[in-house]
Symmetry: C2
Subunit: 148 residues, 2 copies
DNA sequence: CGGATATCAGGGGTACTGAAATTC
DNA sequence: CGAATTTCAGTATCCCTGATATCC
């Protein structure tokens, strides 16, 4: 790409969008190599950290839409990384539980995504990477807290 | 959204994706209020800064796909903000030129997007906003330069 | 001829919406 | 009854590819 117009280059919204595209590409390439998708990692991470949960709860924790959560849980269940079982206490719910294979898968995907972070932020020093993560976290928090 | 899993919160790729979603939402809301789209601003900015150009060149400068460039130029031409004329030197090309109305429109959209930046980065101090833009610019440059 | 541009048709992924069925 | 959860069907936008026609 040629040099972009100054009015674009200076805008955070444009930069974030462009960096997000590179991030998407690197992430999907890395995960495709192990036959996984980004949502797989998100869901497994939520189940490992917070324990078994309904699909609704998983979606809220990961920021995944209810429709998409359903499809992704299906894929993970087909691969044996989670188990879907009806909740005996509240039969509207399904309880999703991570399996031992799912835990291994989570660690595998975490390693892949760690490498993706290094590729994505290769131009920054370790201290700068932490600073970028901190700044983005504060921006994100400010928008997610106001929703509630 | 509830608190996301730590494995997600710490990853730059995940943060960028989430922030990008908020950015998209704020930007589209702001632009929709004046009946515009993000690509309109990009194209007008490129024409104003670099002068009349073919659709191919505009696309390269703004990072817009050739198919989308065509449709967006159509919209801008319908609104009288640009003029499309065949290039007398090279009749494969269309030369796109910004109009006076287009220049006014560019300033209008720039003001809207300036407000969007302030909303998006409301949690950060002016110095932190500059730092974030600088970090993102370096990340972006490192990925766009290697492509060539 | 090869190479470049513009145009059209359409695919694929992601985020999202509406509505039905079930259960609390 | 209203509210919550799951599930399915479908929409919208964006990014991208393939193919064709035209012209250098």
């Amino acid at each position: 790409m040629e040099e972009a117009p100054a009015r674009l280059r200076g805008k955070a919204s444009w930069l974030i969008n462009k960096v997000s595209l590179h991030s998407h590409r690197l992430r999907n390439e890395g995960l495709a190599a192990v036959d996984a998708r980004a949502y797989h990692f998100s869901i497994l991470a939520a189940l490992e950290e917070f324990g078994p949960a309904s699909q609704m709860t998983i979606g809220q924790r990961c920021g995944i839409d209810r429709s998409d959560t359903h499809a992704m849980v299906n894929e993970l269940a087909d691969q044996g990384f989670v188990v879907r079982a009806p909740d005996t206490m509240d039969r509207r719910r399904n309880v999703i539980t991570i399996t031992d294979a799912g835990r291994k898968r989570l660690d595998e995907l975490d390693a892949v995504l760690g490498q993706v972070q290094r590729q994505l932020l290769a131009a920054l020093s370790p201290a700068e990477r932490k600073h970028l993560v901190a700044l983005l976290s504060r921006v994100l928090d400010s928008h997610e807290r106001t929703v509630t």
